[in-house]
């Protein structure tokens, strides 16, 4: 009997060594942790329950039958993050370079099916050389099986990918369809075709880091939502993100005890808007001063910085924030910022996360670059996302809300629940100068007259009261009371119920 029990211990010990101590050391030498070490950091201590520890591949080609390590290059299971259940798979680079075989894929599929059924997020820790070439099409089938599950799980449970090593070729499309992708600086990269193929086909010489490193994907391509210094930091920050997210789409976003007065007055916000309307200010100051404890989890911090997206808590409950950033491109909307914000708004709507929007937008960025790039359809994504969202929506216009961009930014007309404006708000079709030059075209030659017309236009429209008279603004609020007002607004919306007409799905202009 004892021998039989110790057989389990022995097998477990072997499985836990993955590709063996030598490969573990090599992994460490690259500044990377092993699949199991990463799980230790991601989950609460001793909370991991593993599945399929003894699964082995079934390939018999190329002598593969002689090497059948337990686990087959991926560790899967479930555990908790601060006591809340999550499913996890962690690819083991020490076993066949983490390559994906038929059975490796089956392990992932198993936990994804369970996650959808039991309503818990899926977190994938990616560190894989790609398809198990020895298995041929079986490996490709495995990828597709995972893809199909990513698609089915989308909008049902949050899916988070952390790229902690290579992720190339078909492998990229699984993370691509998850809600968030994070990367580890200097040790991870993602691309569809690697530097060698690029050189052969296009003669471009490029390093893996330049082609698909963390910097590329957080700043240029927007594929990744964030990047961290190392494995330890990345996993700690993923835990922090999970604290913000609901476990599934049937559940309200989480609430936790908070140590911040919801009625906290911030008198300094009364001077946030500079006297000169063309001078920028940092919208992040407003976000952090409104948020519980100044805590802000920013998504896509380094991309399309003219719009800010991320999570805060108000009265302990998660709220998604979208805000124009006057510090960059005057906070205008363009292709990149519209896409970035639209995807974020849709994530929040999927998972019942209320949306707080801070508006200071002078309009859409003009130019051939934008028009040729299809700003019409990309801008429409954000408009569509806001319009279809049924979660509580609270909007505060701090300064400019011009033209079509006013409509887009969670306006009353897109079913905004609370639309507030600061006294400094200017809600108009365009800036006073431009408007005057159109309305008073005949006086264009007369600078004095134009100046007078401009002043008249400013007096009439450069304020929130015209919109407030029409009920498009529910209330003009003091900047210093913003935290209190938006906290109370969301509190009043906790039982909001709104649904869209039945449809198979909508046809957002992708």
């Amino acid at each position: 009997m004892k021998d039989i029990l110790s057989e389990l211990d022995d097998r477990r010990a072997t499985a836990k060594l993955g590709g063996g101590q030598k490969r573990i050391d090599a992994q460490h030498a690259r500044g990377k942790l092993t699949a199991r070490e990463r799980i230790d950091l991601l989950l609460d201590e001793d909370s991991f329950e593993e599945f399929d520890m003894f699964v082995a591949h079934r390939c018999t080609d190329f002598g593969m039958e002689k090497q059948r390590p337990a686990g087959d290059g991926v560790v899967t299971g479930w555990g908790t993050i601060n006591g809340r259940m999550v499913y996890v798979f962690s690819q083991d680079f020490t076993v066949f370079g983490g390559s994906l075989s038929e059975t490796h894929a089956q392990k992932i599929c198993k936990i994804m099916d369970m996650a959808v059924q039991n309503g818990a997020p899926v977190i994938g820790l990616n560190d894989s050389g790609g398809a198990r070439i020895q298995e041929g099409v079986a490996s490709l089938a495995g990828y597709a099986d995972v893809f199909q599950r990513n698609i089915m799980a989308s909008g049902v449970v949050p899916q988070i990918s952390v790229i902690m090593g290579p992720c190339a070729g078909g492998a990229v499309y699984s993370p691509a369809m998850t809600d968030f992708i994070f990367m580890v600086k200097d040790s991870s990269y993602m691309f569809v075709t690697g530097p060698d193929v690029v050189k052969t086909v296009t003669n471009e010489v490029v390093t893996a880091e330049e082609l698909g490193g963390a910097s590329t994907h957080t700043k240029k391509s927007s594929v990744a939502d964030g990047a961290f210094e190392n494995d330890v930091e990345a996993l700690a920050e993923v835990r922090r993100l999970v604290d913000f997210l609901p476990l599934n789409n049937r559940e309200k976003p989480p609430v936790r005890p908070f140590f911040d007065e919801p009625g906290r007055v911030e008198t300094s916000l009364d001077t946030l808007i500079p006297e000169n309307p063309n001078q920028p200010y940092d919208m992040k100051e407003l976000i952090t001063k409104v948020a519980d404890e100044g805590d802000f989890y920013e998504i896509q911090e380094d991309y399309a910085k003219n719009i800010i997206t991320g999570f805060v808590r108000l009265e302990g409950q998660t709220v998604g924030v979208v805000a124009n950033q006057p510090m960059v491109l005057a906070g205008c909307l363009d292709i990149d910022s519209s896409r970035k914000a639209a995807r974020f708004v849709r994530f929040c709507d999927c998972f019942e996360i209320p949306i707080l929007t801070f508006v200071d937008v002078p309009g859409f960025l003009p130019g051939t670059g934008q028009e040729y790039g299809g700003v019409i359809k990309h801008g429409a994504k954000l408009l569509f996302a806001y319009g279809e969202a049924t979660v509580p929506k609270v909007t505060v216009i701090t300064r400019k809300a011009y033209g079509g961009a006013y409509d887009v930014m969670a306006s009353k007309h897109l079913r905004g629940d609370f639309n507030y404006a600061w006294p400094t708000a200017e809600i108009a079709v365009m800036g006073a100068k431009g408007a005057t030059e159109i309305i008073h075209r005949a006086d264009l030659g007369d600078a004095d007259k134009i100046a007078q017309h401009t002043k008249d236009y400013e007096d009439r429209f450069a304020n929130p009261f015209v919109a407030a008279e029409k009920g498009f603004i529910d209330e003009v609020i003091m900047p210093q009371s913003t935290r209190k007002r938006v906290s109370r607004a969301f509190a009043s919306l906790r039982n909001k119920q709104l649904s869209n007409p039945w449809k198979k799905h909508d046809n957002i202009p992708l």
Binding site: L33, V232, V255, E275
Partner: protein
């Protein structure tokens, strides 16, 4: 007494004067430029008059504009503060002509003391000890050498109209005297339009010690003891204290009496300061007299209990002094730190912008000044120490590029110097100031410097102790352990809160353990945290323990910690995966991890900061106006590379050395953050 006075100044000194006027029941008028529309002194005054655009030479120092404001408001007297028009005889004259009282000395005294050569002559006549030197005008370099030899080297060659180190040379031999004379003369001609030069003995081991005097118009004069201002950076005072740790009673008395004699010699009637240089043997020499209220006057007020502004107003109103020399004592010790908007990590580069956070430590009234009325109105009454903060800014306000970068004058008082320093350390640690660069870490470092603590300093203190600038503080082991223990206790609280999130699996909650590893300043401390109702006992590996208690909750940016009965104030911020903790001048990244997390974190490679020697970094947040070079261009040292607009100012960034541009990362119209890489060189 006056019913209404105008304060011809701005910032903290205007606010300071308003406080006393208010206490005396006098109405106040502020003046302000466009840049100061929302300034604190404007908010505090009963009335405010706009006097022009931001540059001081178009507003605060335009006599006609100030006179117009006086006329408009009917102010009966003017307090000039310091700087601006405070030592301008023409202004005093204009006031006189208009029948408005000047809350300062008579015009004649300003004129007499305004010129270095004249003032020194008067001082000599009044039997005030002066630096040996030649007072006459020096014709040429030969004469300069002759005189230098008569005085004896080392000598200092100075421009008569000079100030701020301009037109000043030290010579140790004939050749240096010859060269120094010529360059001082040239510099003086260029800078001041006045090339008169004089030579005097150069004092070694110099300390800057000054005497506060107070005279009325009836021939009475007293001295309110000394202030030591030896901690200076490029002639700018940073730390002042009263009394001086160096003077003995006899020297103090001699300096005080000579100062009063000098004041009387020029018919002085107001508060004034006689500055001396004191050498290592306590020989003191007259430097100059400042015919105004000094920036550092609060330390004198704190040890004497005399409100100098009140005295100035009463004297200007014709009242005789109500205090005699016998009433003036030295009660306790006071220290002042000037908080400047200057970034010590960037060679004290002035930093301007919005004060996103400004929460000075709470004022505490104690000691002589506590009994001095209500002007410290929000202060709580204390016993062991006092905290006073003279300021002219507020959270959400702006530090503008147009004026002096001083944000506040933080003072502490306590019965002894050691206690005053300790109170200052805690006050500095509790001073929340964000949004701009500031010198809080630097002055904190000075407060912990052994030379300062011993009181053994000279005016060369900063230049000698920080020859390569300031790059932060390394905390000593004992302080580090205190910070580590505090961080462990705080982290535990934060982690327990995280486990209280909704949606947990019942009966499978996360349990927060007691064993932690704190990593900071390159060291790791394994600790065990045992918490109870009153706090935590944090035990280190060597068996020693610290008792930590605090009302800190997650999100608080200030942690006031009682550690083994002593106070430790920490500024607590967030960094990825840990805390940013600032205290005692140090700025630390602190990680608190479970033993397993710490074991794995130890495997992470240390990433060296990128080599920036071949890059052009953006020195301030701003907008790229234009690029002056292209990839492949060879640039010479000093060549313009890019123009950055920041705060409406165009800044041209130039090549520091010869090189070839290999990469350009920014284009016109891009907005850049501090330290963003603009271009790289081969």
């Amino acid at each position: 007494m006056f019913d209404k006075i105008l304060i011809a100044n701005r910032g903290e000194i205007a606010c300071r004067v308003i406080k006393t006027a208010r206490k005396m029941g006098i109405k106040t008028v502020a003046i302000y430029s466009d840049a100061d529309k929302q300034a604190l002194h404007v908010q505090m005054a009963d009335e405010a008059v706009h006097i022009g655009p931001p540059p001081a030479n178009q507003s605060y120092i335009v006599i006609d504009k100030v006179m117009a404001a006086i006329k408009e408001t009917g102010a009966q007297a003017v307090h000039p503060g310091y700087g601006f028009l405070s030592e301008n005889a023409k202004f005093a004259e204009a006031l006189d002509a208009a029948g408005v009282a000047f809350i300062g000395p008579p015009k004649g005294a300003i004129e007499a003391m305004g010129d270095k050569i004249t003032s020194k002559k008067i001082a000599q006549d009044a039997k005030v000890s002066t630096v040996p030197g030649y007072m006459g005008l020096i014709e040429d370099a030969d004469e300069a050498v002759k005189i230098s030899n008569q005085i004896g080297y080392p000598v200092m060659i100075k421009a008569s109209a000079g100030g701020g180190g301009k037109g000043m040379r030290i010579a140790w031999n004939d050749q240096e005297a010859r060269e120094g004379f010529q360059s001082s003369k040239n510099e003086a001609a260029n800078s001041f339009g006045d090339d008169r030069i004089f030579i005097e003995k150069f004092v070694t081991q110099p300390r800057h010690i000054e005497i506060q005097v107070l005279c009325d118009a009836h021939g009475n004069g007293i001295y309110l003891n000394e202030r030591e201002c030896s901690i200076q950076r490029r002639n700018q005072k940073v730390v002042e204290e009263a009394p001086s740790p160096f003077l003995d009673e006899a020297t103090r008395k001699a300096m005080g009496e000579q100062s009063v004699a000098l004041a009387k010699a020029v018919g002085y009637a107001s508060a004034g300061t006689v500055e001396f240089i004191v050498d290592g043997d306590k020989n003191f020499y007259f430097l100059e007299m400042n015919t105004r209220l000094q920036v550092e006057h609060p330390v004198t007020e704190l040890i004497t209990g005399v409100d100098l502004v009140e005295q100035m107003i009463r004297v200007a109103g014709g009242e005789p002094l109500s205090i005699t020399q016998d009433d003036v004592g030295i009660n306790g010790w006071a220290i002042e730190n000037r908080v400047y908007a200057e970034d010590p990590y960037r060679n004290f580069l002035p930093s301007i912008g919005r004060l996103t956070r400004y929460r000075p430590p709470a004022e505490v009234a104690a000691g002589p000044l506590a009994d001095n009325g209500k002007w410290q109105d929000k202060a709580t009454r204390g016993k062991d120490f006092a905290v006073r903060n003279d300021t002219g800014v507020y959270e959400g306000g702006e530090i503008s590029m147009y004026y002096d970068p001083m944000i506040a004058k933080l003072c502490t008082w306590a019965p002894t110097r050691g206690e005053a320093i300790e109170a200052m350390r805690n006050a500095l640690d509790g001073f929340e100031l964000e949004g701009i660069g500031h010198n809080l870490p630097f002055v904190s470092a000075v407060m912990d410097h052994p030379k300062f603590i011993s009181g053994d300093m000279t005016t060369a203190f900063i230049a000698e102790e920080y020859p390569d600038g300031f790059d932060g503080v390394e905390l000593p082991e004992e302080t580090l352990r205190k910070v580590a223990a505090s961080a462990a206790a705080m982290h535990r609280v934060a982690e327990i809160r995280r486990t209280r999130v909704s949606g947990r699996m019942d009966n499978h909650e996360r349990r927060v353990g007691s064993d932690w590893v704190v990593t900071l300043q390159g060291q790791s401390f394994p600790v065990r945290v045992d918490a109870d109702h009153d706090g935590s006992t944090v035990t280190f590996e060597d068996g020693t323990a610290k008792r930590v208690s605090s009302g800190w909750t997650p999100g608080d940016q200030l942690a006031d910690i009682n550690i083994d009965g002593e106070t430790l104030v920490l500024k607590v911020g967030k960094v990825s995966g840990g805390f940013r903790i600032r205290s005692r001048g140090a700025d630390l990244k602190v990680h608190v991890r479970t033993p397993r997390q710490a074991e794995l974190a130890a495997l992470m490679p240390e990433k060296l900061p990128p080599d920036t020697s071949k890059m052009l970094l953006c020195p301030m947040p701003g907008l790229v106006v234009k690029l002056d070079v292209e990839v492949g261009d060879e640039v010479q040292e000093g060549q313009a590379l890019v123009t950055i607009e920041a705060m409406k100012m165009e800044n041209i960034l130039r090549a520091e050395k010869k090189g070839v541009v290999s990469k350009i990362n920014a284009g016109a119209g891009d907005s850049l953050a501090v330290d963003e890489v603009i271009m790289e060189f081969e």
